[in-house]
Symmetry: none
Subunit: 124 residues, 4 copies
DNA sequence: GTGGTCTAGACCACA
DNA sequence: GTGGTCTAGACCACA
């Protein structure tokens, strides 16, 4: 369900956070479904439970999951989260556009690149 | 010429590297012009010379500047570097597109956003 | 495992880099085995950890080792590196040949020297 | 007569020394012929006279040239020097052979490479 | 005056 | 415990 790249520059906890963000946003993990337990995931990925705990804490703090005492962590209803993610997407796009302009890339080249690389609705 | 955000999560040396990359790629710093001396910049930014040195070492390793023994560091002729930067731009764009698709953003929305935010040739 | 010549003109960090390059290329250090920790090696060689860190950073940048966050540095699978090293070897040989010719050394003398000094397969 | 690579890692004075060593060993500069004056060469290469002086001092110390008070520097009769250079050549070759063996390059490959790249007596 | 190397030591993120 | 960043400051090579 989750794979870690140990050679990446990104901290493991950050990789875990991002993987789950994606799974939740894409709807693979449904609202109110249970997250894998900290211990089980730690064993499965062969990493320190502290690291999982840290990742879950961030997911909770960002509103992706919520804990239930004694029962575990569950996926939040993701409407708000999705909305916020979309906003971030456009912020990232704006920053990228700014960089592209600075380097003299033409708007036309950029849009045609996007046309080609965005195969709508095929592989969600 | 350069400002540092001391609150940022990004290391200072990395901020310096990125600032100079931009200045060089945008052509603000012309090929073969002299970089500020390690010590002068250290004083100006009120940081340790070692930190500047680390930033300059990275810029050299990435081909942005070249050192001249006993004289200082100078800006590389940046054709190759620009080319490489453009390639990186499109890689970043492709990654972003992938994320956008995952979240169910439509291609149309994305392109129209780009049309609006890319004011061609105005503020290079 | 590693010895430093403090009298040498070569910087300490460069000596460390070259020693490890050799150990890795020769296969003394196996792929994915752990490098000595920065601190342990610093103590062993009685030099500053920063100097080890600089050496390790270069080894990483050259593809000899890779870091794992919070765990340490590990030896890369060295196939590519070995290939590149071999190429460098022949470049060095070509340069040396050029010098020899300039000084009027005969090809014959050179090859017979090589025949004598290359005891194949004895002391790998 | 002499060209400097300002972008090289090698110090300028070292480049000058090596260029003259080659010219003298190859016999381009004949025994007892006059070296360019420190000042003239400094002007020609557009570098600091101190740097030329340092290079000449090394050439003298290594036996390539000798100074005559008030008249300038002159090329030494180069027999001894050539002999020593040849010795250095074979030392370098021995070191290179050692490295090659360590990397598992076969003697045969190495000798055949040499056969191909040593075009005897053509372009001295 | 220019950058390069190194030390001693602090503080931090990560696992 | 692991490496990464940064400071303060010394000393050196080079031009």
């Amino acid at each position: 369900m989750i794979t870690i790249d140990y050679q990446s520059r990104k901290p493991i906890y950050e990789q875990i956070v991002e993987k789950f963000q994606l799974l939740i946003v894409k709807g693979v993990l449904l609202p109110d479904s249970q997250m894998p337990s900290v211990r089980a995931l730690a064993v499965e990925l062969a990493i320190n439970p502290n690291t999982i705990q840290k990742a879950y804490a961030m997911l909770e703090q960002q509103g992706y999951i919520y804990p239930v005492k004694g029962r575990g962590n569950f996926v939040t209803d993701n409407q708000d989260v999705l909305q916020q993610k979309r906003q971030e997407f456009f912020e990232n796009l704006r920053d990228l556009i700014k960089k592209g302009k600075d380097m003299g890339i033409s708007k036309k080249a950029c849009i045609s690149y996007m046309e080609e690389n965005w195969k709508e609705g095929l592989d969600l």
